[in-house]
């Protein structure tokens, strides 16, 4: 099986500088794999940025009454750390893997709307740049990642333009993410290879599907919330102003209706990754597939029923608190089912502890701790003590780092060989894992106790008399170790690009369709559309077939142009329109920031021009004939 992919012209104009042409081809690409790589690469840069912010905060908190970082800066650091890690790192990293892997896993040649996919990415990048440009243009957002009213409404409570970056940046983000959700929902429901019923879809595909549904339903309330806030800031409405008859809690309400599903948008893809990695390295099929699917659906459903547990202390009263306590605790049940199913998958298997598997098992330990503290937080009377303390900081990091990020590391070690064609070094990988694991626990486990000893979150400093010094120091030391571990991962990526062993198409003796094609896959993914004959299609063929996935019998394809050469594959053309639309929206956003109406209208017009041009330009696409013998 040749590991060489056929190259084809990606850009219509071949003239000019080849390096520029290459960059242009990345900027106009509509290939889900290239877009996936773009997501992963940019999200990793943002992750480093968010990590740097965390590092600076830990330096400030290393000892009591420290004055290394001013309170003004500290508030911006923790806000941007949260926003960056959630919206610019973890979510896009998941979306990157979804982008790259889901079409491969369902046997599709691309996503349902390739150009829309590119637009989602460019909007994501635009939001990232916009949010971070705030550091250079005066002031970063400074009211926490959930940006509570009324401190976000400007005026005396928050002069300066920091929050505007939050509002406009995340508004652009909302559009892009929503479009991505629509795209993957349609892709997964409509584009599966023949024979792949939903109940044969890999768990990662299932979690991507459910994540898309969550995105589609959760982002709109946030969009509206941001609109209301923008009106308060720009047009002096009083939605969130108590003195003018508004309601301060309205922001929290709408925020958490979005915000809690958002937590599951972050964690469900991680569940999917773990459900792929553990069976592969246990050499077993996933235990209790149907109950895993069911559990995922139940979690998604409950995700919309628990938002108020973020607001136990705002004074909604015992009835509301009790109802939301019950629904919140109920989430422990489907989550527990998942954990036990993973352990049962490993039971009786032949476990290979590659780095990917180490991260998956590490995930199980740390995520269980995060889940446990989650249930404890769902008890309102106890939450009165935990809420807004470092106990909560510990909890979210056990869920988002020990949960989501560990799974993303597992995904990297598992799937990067498919993307680059070279294995990552296992030796560096083991160092990477153990440093991250030890550093992470040293950094965040003490925070449970810091919270119980009375340290509120979001404080820039603490007095020496409260006895918080030694645990804070330990936590900072843990972050040092964690940082070295993360840097080792980056080194591993760089090192393995040159020195990594060739991966071949199926280095892990794996189970799903992406491993039936070369690494890296050709642009059209599958030479022939695969025929799926069971759950874990490749695993099925290894056990009852000849180890290769058969091709499906195809209905006569009909494309608009009517011309369809024998054996050729139809591909969508690259397009600059996503860039045009993104540019227009970005111009409008910066114009709103600096109150320049003329350029704002211009930006909106540019975006609309892009949209309508897009709708009717009737891309004929082009055809590719795969080399003989390739499959």
């Amino acid at each position: 099986m040749a590991a060489i992919s056929e190259r084809m012209p990606r850009v219509r104009s071949e003239a000019g500088n080849p390096a520029l042409a290459n960059i242009w081809s990345w900027m106009t690409t509509v290939d889900h794999k290239r877009i996936g790589i773009l997501y992963l690469f940019s999200a990793m840069l943002f992750f480093l940025l968010g990590g740097t912010e965390a590092f600076l905060m830990r330096l400030q908190l290393m000892r009591p009454d420290n004055t290394l970082i001013s309170q003004t800066l500290f508030n911006q650091l923790f806000t941007m750390h949260g926003v960056t890690m959630i919206f610019l790192a973890v979510m896009p990293l998941s979306i990157g893997f979804i982008n790259y892997m889901v079409p491969l896993m369902i046997g599709a040649r691309d996503v349902a709307f390739p150009r829309l996919n590119a637009l989602s990415f460019w909007l994501f990048l635009a939001r990232g740049l916009m949010l971070n440009s705030s550091w250079l243009l005066g002031q970063a957002p400074n009211a926490g990642w959930y940006n509570y009213a009324p401190i976000n409404t400007g005026g005396v409570f928050n002069p300066g333009i920091g929050i505007d970056f939050y509002v406009l940046g995340l508004q652009i983000a909302g559009i892009g993410t929503l479009l991505g959700g629509v795209n993957f929902l349609v892709t997964i429901l409509n584009m599966r290879a023949p024979g792949m019923s939903l109940m044969r879809a890999p768990m990662f595909v299932w979690t991507a599907l459910i994540t898309s549904i969550l995105i589609v339903f959760a982002f709109p309330p946030f969009t509206i919330n941001l609109v209301l806030l923008m009106m308060d800031r720009l047009y002096h409405t009083g939605f969130f102003s108590a003195t003018r008859g508004g309601n301060v809690l309205l922001w929290q309400q709408l925020f958490w209706i979005f915000g809690h599903p958002e937590v599951y948008i972050l964690i469900l893809p991680a569940f999917g990754i773990i459900s792929e990695v553990i069976p592969t390295f246990s050499r077993k099929v996933l235990f209790g597939y149907s109950s895993m699917v069911f559990a995922t659906v139940v979690i998604a459903f409950l995700a919309f029923m628990v938002w108020s547990h973020h607001m136990f202390t705002v004074g909604f009263g015992a009835v509301v608190n009790s109802v939301f306590a019950a629904t919140s605790m109920a989430i422990a049940v489907p989550t527990g089912v998942k954990i036990f199913n993973w352990i049962a998958t490993m039971w009786g298997g032949r476990l290979r502890f590659t780095t990917a598997m180490l991260y998956a098992v590490g995930f199980l330990f740390t995520f269980v701790i995060g889940g446990i503290s989650g249930v404890m937080l769902a008890v309102p009377p106890a939450d009165y003590q935990y809420n807004d303390s470092y106990f909560l900081v510990a909890h979210i990091h056990y869920v988002l780092v020990g949960g989501a990020l560990f799974a993303l590391f597992a995904a990297a070690y598992y799937w990067v060989p498919k993307i680059t064609g070279r294995l990552l070094s296992e030796k560096i990988g083991k160092w990477n894992f153990w440093l991250v694991m030890i550093g992470f626990n040293a950094a965040f486990f003490p925070m449970h106790f810091l919270g119980l000893y009375g340290m509120p979150r979001r404080v820039a400093t603490y007095p020496p008399g409260l006895g918080l010094a030694s645990l804070n120091l330990l936590s900072t030391v843990g972050v040092f170790v964690l940082t070295i571990g993360v840097l080792l991962f980056l080194y591993n990526l760089q090192y393995s690009r040159r020195h990594g062993a060739p991966a071949g198409s199926d280095p892990w003796d794996a189970r799903t369709l992406e491993w039936s094609i070369p690494s890296p896959p050709p642009d059209y993914n599958f030479t022939k559309v695969p025929l799926v004959r069971g759950r874990d299609p490749l695993w099925v063929e290894k056990r009852i077939g000849d180890g290769t996935v058969p091709a499906a019998e195809m209905e006569e394809a009909h494309h608009g142009d009517g011309h369809h050469p024998q054996g050729a594959i139809h591909m969508p053309s690259p397009s600059a329109l996503p860039l045009v639309i993104t540019g227009g929206l970005l111009l409008a956003a910066y114009s709103a920031l600096y109150k320049s109406d003329l350029t704002a209208i211009l930006g909106i017009l540019v975006a609309f021009y892009g949209v309508f041009r897009w709708m009717y330009d009737g891309d004929p696409g082009f055809h590719v004939v795969p080399k003989e013998g390739a499959r």
Binding site: F113, N183, G195, F217, Q253, F608
Partner: protein
């Protein structure tokens, strides 16, 4: 401890050749997902309105301002536009492109009249002292109803662009979904208006 089947038993091939999803099918599903998502968008706006509509400060109230005759007329205009849209798309199905154009032009006209009536309504209220910053009833009213108005305006632009498209290029069967997608959106905007008409105007008039 095995339930279900061994993997081997699951292996079976689908019958018949595989039909790849067409652009039309993908787009239609995409439109429906978008509309479902838009429900949540309007839900948040309506929640805001329900929370704040009693906060009138010193500005005029709903009962003082609303003129149900105007709103009822607007409702009928939008309702008629849904009907003309439906008949237009149906004409296209019969390959009656000129008929389709006639009905779509009527739809555009009705949509524009609706937007115009809303603009008139907003300016009237504004002159009566209900500005964006006068009260939270005003702010949430303008935001909710204005958001719907933006939806209608976007729909008008969309249908207009389809009409232009229909003059510039012959319409093939593969293009029909473009019209169907716009019609789904247009009906949805009408559905939302029914909610707004009931929750904001009718309930507002009785207080």
């Amino acid at each position: 401890m095995s339930h279900g089947a061994d993997t081997a038993e699951l292996a079976s091939a689908p019958s018949g050749p595989f039909h790849e999803a067409t652009a039309a099918e993908n787009n239609k599903l995409g439109i429906w997902v978008w509309l479902a998502s838009d429900c949540a968008l309007f839900a948040a706006l309506i929640a805001t309105y329900l929370t704040l509509h009693n906060s009138v400060q010193h500005a005029p109230t709903a009962a003082q301002l609303f003129d149900l005759r105007l709103t009822a007329t607007a409702t009928f205009v939008l309702l008629l536009s849904s009907m003309s849209m439906g008949i237009g798309v149906e004409a296209l199905q019969r390959n009656d492109v000129p008929g389709m154009r006639r009905w779509l032009w009527l739809t555009v006209a009705l949509g524009a009249v609706f937007v115009g009536m809303q603009a008139f309504e907003f300016t009237t209220y504004w002159h009566h002292g209900l500005t964006l910053s006068a009260s939270d009833f005003g702010a949430s009213f303008y935001t909710l109803v204005g958001f719907h108005g933006l939806h209608v305006s976007f729909g008008v632009a969309w249908i207009l662009s389809l009409l232009i498209f229909s003059y510039r290029r012959p319409i093939t069967a593969a293009d029909a979904w473009r019209f169907e997608a716009a019609s789904l959106y247009w009906y949805f905007v009408d559905v939302v208006w029914v909610v707004i008409f009931t929750v904001v105007y009718l309930m507002g008039k009785v207080g």
